[in-house]
């Protein structure tokens, strides 16, 4: 079975004097159905990792495979196609478009797949139902609370049934009550089978999730491992993460 997301020997260097290595030989494999926290302090390279995982930025070296598709050699348009079908994004700042109803905001998650208007609206309404906002379809962002806005954003990330959802500090702009509600929603979605990667600096939030990948100085410092492999194996090989059972691949 293909992984939802696989990074192999990914390095990201920003040009400069001297060049800054934001990611240094990172390999990680996330299976379908996982709920993973990528945790690390600011400056650890986790934002770069998010951008590379979401194909918003290309690695200097290494391979990024989204649901079995290697994105390294794809054109900008083709990578955009991969994003439109396989990745759902949730951002700290919500990024809901003002003056547009919740259902239209969610429907935007389908617009770049060429899905027709009526189907977009119907699927968006379903997704909002799923995050518990079935009664808020026509509300505009400024009529919603912070927690509700983030739930709309989660619905938008889910509406096209992506291979995985990337949530970047999803509770960073929320009070503690809304934080709890959004994390509960993420847990519920995970229980229903959705693959979710939560990027956070908050160790408390990370602790509550089944798998934790700790990032520091552009390297994976610790990976609590997938449920399918031994935690000890990953821990003794920091920086490789993923699949210790296939050393031949790691040599590539």
């Amino acid at each position: 079975m293909t992984a939802a997301l696989e990074l192999r020997n990914v390095t990201k260097e920003y040009p400069g004097q001297p060049p800054v290595k934001a990611l240094d030989d990172v390999s990680v494999r996330i299976e379908h159905g996982e709920l993973v926290a990528v945790v690390g302090p600011s400056g650890s390279g986790k934002s770069t990792l998010l951008n590379v995982m979401g194909t918003l930025d290309r690695p200097t070296e290494g391979m990024v495979a989204i649901d079995g598709t290697d994105t390294a050699k794809l054109s900008d348009g083709a990578v955009a196609g991969v994003r439109s079908r396989n990745i759902g994004f949730v951002f700290q700042q919500f990024f809901l478009l003002p003056g547009m109803s919740a259902v239209d905001n969610v429907a935007n998650g389908l617009i770049y797949q060429g899905v027709g208007m009526a189907e977009r609206q119907a699927r968006a309404a379903d997704a909002l139902e799923r995050v518990g906002l079935g009664h808020r379809l026509g509300h505009e962002p400024n009529q919603l609370s912070g927690g509700e806005r983030q739930r709309v954003a989660v619905a938008r990330a889910l509406v096209h049934k992506p291979a995985f959802v990337l949530a970047d500090e999803p509770t960073g702009n929320l009070d503690s009550r809304s934080t709890a509600a959004v994390m509960q929603l993420i847990a519920d979605l995970h229980a229903e089978g959705t693959t979710i990667v939560v990027i956070t600096h908050d160790t408390e939030i990370a602790e509550a999730l089944p798998r934790r990948v700790a990032v520091l100085d552009g390297r994976i410092q610790a990976d609590s491992g997938t449920p399918f492999e031994t935690v000890a194996g990953a821990a003794t090989h920091p920086g490789t993460g993923g699949d210790g059972s296939r050393p031949d691949l790691e040599a590539v």
Partner: protein, 410 residues
């Protein structure tokens, strides 16, 4: 298992995954979403273009309407009027028409009406208190009783000379002459001072578009002119109405008929030609307003470009989000280009409506037929769309070039 599907070697390229796509109808929807969410700003940024387009459509509509009014007027005045004057040729200064010119011209078969005016070398004043020389360029002429009929003229007040009133000092004023003499009505007996003689004003004429000289004249009867003011016998101008199909042949015939001895010193003109030329010419004011409209359009274009540049800076988050949702650079470029075109097209539609309404109101108030050239209305819309595309090009390119990671950085 995973190695079979995830092959990092360049040879193992699977078929490229489907690219993201944005339906054309959705390009429009996405392009309209920005202007819809910010209505006040949309209205203000469309305003500049709408003023420019309104100016262009209004000016073209008004000049066409007034031109058609002028052409209507020419048609109603008749284009078969020919005037015969002395002058032309070398040393023409002192030449005059023979005394018999009116009679000989009247004998041409194709001449249906003939009338004439004679110069009278006396001054006219409102009253005896006006200093000598302040005539306001008002001249005294003698005319026969046919003049108003021949010129299709109209009286504003009173009546024209007839056989009875022409024999004694009675005056009919041209429209400009009446104004300059300060006479606005004939409700009570009114007199002017001609050569120190009180002469009663019996009528005031409307304008003569085909003989503007007469607007500045005080007209008296020929008999009275000769008996009271020593007028000569040689007519100054002979006005003739000619059978419609025979204007050109009659025109060739007139000089020799009027003055068989010196036909080269006779000038024949067709006043309607001058009016037609005037109707055909763009007057300076129209050009000025067209220029102002063009400047307003330029300012409107810059305004839209400006608003779009600001929108791109302000909406980096939206651009980043759309890239994350799968938009390509081309999709972003199309969105902002469409947005700019929508802004200026809104301005164009509003401008055309304003221009048409302004033309309608003004032309109606002037009693003109309302003429709105289709190319002005249609051209205004096309111009607006082109302006939007030009104004939106640079901001749209900038939006498309923005890296998603940079756009998403708050």
């Amino acid at each position: 298992m995973a190695a079979a599907t995830i092959d990092p070697s360049p040879d193992g390229m699977a078929a490229a995954p489907p690219r993201s796509r944005l339906r054309p109808i959705d390009v429009l929807r996405v392009g309209a979403s920005g202007p819809r969410a910010r209505r006040m700003r949309t209205a203000l940024s469309a305003l500049g273009v709408s003023i420019g387009i309104a100016a262009l459509v209004g000016v073209l509509g008004l000049s066409e309407s007034s031109r058609s009014a002028l052409l209507d007027e020419i048609a109603s005045l008749g284009t078969n009027l020919l005037t015969v004057e002395a002058g032309g040729g070398f040393g023409a200064g002192d030449s005059e028409l023979p005394d018999t010119a009116v009679a000989t011209i009247g004998r041409i078969d194709t001449v249906t009406d003939v009338s004439a005016v004679w110069q009278v070398d006396v001054d006219v004043y409102r009253n005896e208190f006006i200093p000598e020389g302040q005539t306001g360029s008002v001249q005294v002429v003698a005319a026969d009783t046919e003049l108003v009929d021949t010129l299709n003229g109209e009286l504003a007040e009173g009546r024209y000379l007839d056989d009875a009133t022409a024999a004694y000092p009675n005056a009919v004023l041209g429209s400009v002459a009446a104004e300059r003499l300060g006479i606005h009505g004939l409700d009570e007996p009114t007199y002017v001072l001609i050569d120190d003689e009180q002469v009663e004003v019996i009528g005031i004429l409307e304008e003569f578009p085909l003989a503007a000289d007469l607007d500045r004249a005080v007209i008296i009867g020929t008999e009275a002119a000769q008996s009271h003011f020593d007028a000569g016998d040689a007519p100054a101008v002979v006005y003739t109405r000619v059978t419609d199909g025979a204007v050109d042949t009659t025109r060739d015939l007139l000089p020799t008929t009027a003055d068989p001895e010196n036909p080269e010193e006779v000038t024949v003109s067709r006043p309607s030609e001058a009016l037609e030329a005037q109707a055909a010419a763009d007057d300076a004011l129209t050009t000025l307003f067209l220029g102002l409209g063009a400047v307003a359009l330029l300012v409107g274009t810059i305004g839209i470009a400006n608003v779009m540049v600001i929108a791109v800076i302000e909406r980096r988050g939206e651009i980043g989000l759309r890239r994350a949702l799968g938009a390509t650079q081309a999709h972003i470029r199309r969105q902002f280009l469409t947005e700019a075109v929508i802004l200026s097209a809104l301005g164009g539609v509003a401008g055309v409506v304003i221009g048409v309404v302004a033309t309608f109101v003004y032309a109606t108030s002037q009693g003109w037929r309302v003429v709105i050239p289709a190319e002005a209305a249609f051209g205004g819309l096309v111009a607006a769309i082109v302006i939007g595309a030009v104004a939106g090009l640079y901001p749209a390119m900038r939006a498309a070039k923005l890296a998603p990671t940079e756009a998403l950085r708050a």
